[in-house]
Symmetry: D2
Subunit: 323 residues, 4 copies
């Protein structure tokens, strides 16, 4: 056990995601039990640069496991991309006698740590937090399960209206260029068609179905956001083949990003947070903690990549249910 | 008591709204207790014209009080606007020996009944169902409370993200040209600014605030949809005065229309449904049942108008909290 | 306008109820706009006695309209029942130069204020907060609508299981000796039987139904808590007439008291909170603010009584649907 | 591919659990795509014995992925425990020309299939469905994630009240003799103490904490149901050491069993349902489909055992957070 660590710094970076506060609780509690102080930097790398930090207490965080977003706030930092910014961050760490750093964020966050490690040799640990679930080295990222739960609860509501009117509804879900939220939420709501970036922009099946759509039932389409996809594009394609169709669009938008974390995300935050501190005590450094095949798993930062997780099984499900 | 009524027809028309199924349950149960059969016409006036009907049983409807939308489906009927369509509807009523008709819908629905009453002299009763709460003669329409509950639950989620990033968020809610959902949901979530059609398009206060917005906290704007309002317009106005602002838009859209009815809407459906049948038994006709000042209240169809309900008290609240 | 008021004290007392924080926000915001400071006493009358107070800021409370419970905490105070305690409370008010007092709580809270008014002549205003909705002078108390929404969401879940097994389920809801939550939630979930204190303990109808219950469907009973009622009593009565019945009991308990306030309770908190301050500015004193027939209404404390609100219309609905 | 299968029978057995309907949808859709008919037997083994079956259509099931419980109903069958009952079930299968059978249920269900296989040689496939997550061969059973989500949403509500009053709250969750729901929900809500059957009945730590409890904050205890555990026992132990403590109990009860399935349970139902049919097409028989380490996994019925899943990592978390 590494007894040299007396003071851990922690921050959240990139987009916020549900479960971040549960992870902060677990980190702080585990640290306290091991006699370690925890300081939280506010607004991601910005707080590191500006020395904007608060002491974290597990007793206060304990009540916040159910809170969405991040109490430390988050931001994207342009200054940290410059060596100048990173030098200031190093100074903050030195001044505050921080012995180790834990960051919760996406692949960009870990790239930042990798760059930072060139001038700072205290150990860094990463925890994957993004609703898009597009990071290698873990089956789940913090926030994905909450985002999908929010998506399906709301698509269920839309089904009520779609069935009351026998209408075509296109619901657009988040995911940036990943269709992971799209395929999951589409399957879970029993959608008639599911369109995700990974399956290409071949609309033939969909348009064939909608061309002959007789308005005798609802027709529910779930589509991922994206450059060559998205609800507006799908809508215009449909109107080309069936101009009279009674069609509505809803883009779920940012409601998918907030809200109380789901059971899975709270547990994930706790498991990853505990393991982050334990890894530091075992002298690990510059690794991301993930859950692979239901087991805790460490991946070096330089091996963490942005990754599409739509695997063979999911592609088969898409073909079976969504086309 | 009017003992000549043996068979009531019922249908839902216009946009669907949560609570319609609870009303159908109450109508059917009350009718059964009084020895009256109930038939439900599907797809609003379309079902009347086409003779598309099913027998309703309270035992089956009892389990559906919690279901959003309308199990009878709904539609807007162009054919019923023509005398030809109304004549066919009359034929359906005669063939099926319908003694009275109850319609759940908006002001357009009641106008349809008024026109129909020129050629059909069985009693008609109306129940106000629309999420927009824009009908005179009732403090609440079926669906409004559910829509607002859905809106605020989702705006609460957006607040998590807005506060995590110290961002400006514009959330657009429904209401067609009524700001009733907008002002209510805006007040309920503690919005920094609330914009509704009734308050005009004077953005001076808002722009003054946002111009000096320092990104030290979230700034949450709730805006109603509408021609001279809406999230896109507000967004472009803001960007004129503060081009660098970190701003996001979410339009809640159709999620506000569906979903399980709230407590208030279920109770409203039950109260109005019971009273509709009791009114028929008391030989009432061509009236809409509403709740005014917490009491059951009947308004003749020709006095029912589309009405903005943003009263003096609400305007004062808007001025106090939302500008 | 009463310009002598510069500093308002506020506290929550009795059982907590959803909407209290929204009321605190509205009070503070309205006061600030009128140049008045607001201090919050913690733990009800205990904080008044002990001088345990914090300054309230609308900017902070604004984010908490959606939070259940009360951020000021609440308690029942034995000390305030004694003159000694009230004298200490008076001293606290004098020391802190409190010009007026707003209390959110139940009928016991207002009785306390009445006793206090004998030795303290600053104006007091009351806001009714209790999930039981058993106070005269208002159609709704803060928290009732939230409690019923929580009850029905959970009874809906129980219906899933009841119908999957064709079982008899008895669900006990809160209300102390008032059946208001019971009758509302029972009607809203389409219960087969509803038992409330106000309808007496005549189980004849229920037992007749259950005696012949053939397990071909679910049978859902909603019963209020109470001395001569409650789930256990109903269960033992049923087992007397049908010993082999497959029966389950769930007592919803304290989940009905917490949770994010519903739309109606947030709005109620805001309306009552604003009016409390406005009433002070209009030199009103020793009155409770309520909503009667959808209008703001003031009732002198000495006329506020604990009241059963199960009126004639509700009794008829009970007879129609719940027996 | 096994082309001899033309007609699959399916049923749900034991306790109902959220996700069963999603599994039925996936089974039926996958079968239809492969030219196979699906019949659903009602009320578990009872329907097999009595020949009570309905044809399933994926088009209808598609809308029910979000519905809790099981549309086929479920039951525990004493008759099937007798050879006589199983012979009748065999006759039903022969008469209806059922080529294969898929059962969704717990370990008792699979034991029934094993006994049935002695007289019936068509292939059987099992899908694990129980909220208790106590079956070997799968990381998750259908319904566990939904039950935990329901538990934590409601414990979050209870926290509001506990914190408003600075009270001790004991919340009892389900799990029969398994503490899996208990430890998960306790960790997820930031409980001050978590008691589960697997950790024994050593209350020393808890009682030490509560003895000195000063009512300066809430104290939240999550405890599993069970013979030597449970809320009532914990309550009486606490009152022995601290008779004046302000303590409340809530037993969440059957609300944990119903409700719309969570995202994870819908996906689990779909994955397991698809794989059940694919396994039949690959001539598999008498196996349960599970997800082990995130991969589909088959376990022969005679190796499926009731299993406590509280592993080493969970025990460490319990020690860290819950004692």
């Amino acid at each position: 056990m590494d007894s040299t660590i007396k003071h851990i710094g922690v921050f959240t970076s990139g987009g916020d995601s549900p479960g971040m506060n549960a992870a902060l609780y677990a980190i702080t509690k585990t640290a306290e039990v091991n006699g370690i102080n925890v300081s939280g930097f506010r607004k991601g790398y910005e707080g590191l640069i500006d020395g904007d930090l608060v002491q974290l207490k597990s007793h206060e965080l304990q009540k916040l496991t159910q809170k969405g977003g991040t109490i430390l706030k988050t931001a994207r930092s342009k200054r940290f991309l410059e060596l100048e910014g990173r030098k200031k961050a190093l100074q903050t760490l030195n001044v505050n006698k921080i012995d180790a750093l834990i960051a919760i964020g996406g692949d960009g966050t870990f790239k930042g740590l990798l760059a930072f490690s060139e001038i700072c040799d205290i150990p860094f640990i990463g925890i994957p937090g993004t609703i898009d679930n597009d990071i290698s080295g873990t089956d789940y990222t913090l926030g994905f399960d909450s985002a999908v739960n929010t998506a399906i609860e709301n698509i269920d509501k839309i089904r009520d209206t779609a069935e009351s009117h026998n209408r075509v509804f296109i619901v657009e879900v988040m995911g940036r260029d990943s269709g992971y939220i799209g395929i999951h939420s589409g399957l879970m709501v029993g959608a008639d068609a599911i369109l995700i970036p990974e399956s290409g922009t071949d609309f033939i099946n969909l348009l064939g179905k909608v061309k002959n759509y007789d308005s005798e039932d609802a027709f529910l389409i779930v589509v991922s956001e994206g450059d060559e996809i998205g609800a507006d594009l799908v809508s215009s394609k449909i109107k080309e083949v069936n101009p009279n169709v009674d069609l509505r669009i809803t883009k779920l938008g940012h409601i998918q990003r907030g809200g109380n974390p789901s059971a899975l995300d709270r547990m994930l935050g706790i498991r990853l947070g505990v393991e982050a501190v334990k890894s530091l005590l075992q002298s690990k450094k510059n690794v991301m903690i993930g859950i692979l095949n239901n087991q805790l798993h460490l991946t070096p930062f330089n091996e963490v990549v942005k990754q599409h997780q739509v695997n063979k099984e999911l592609h088969e499900l898409l073909e079976l249910f969504g086309t």
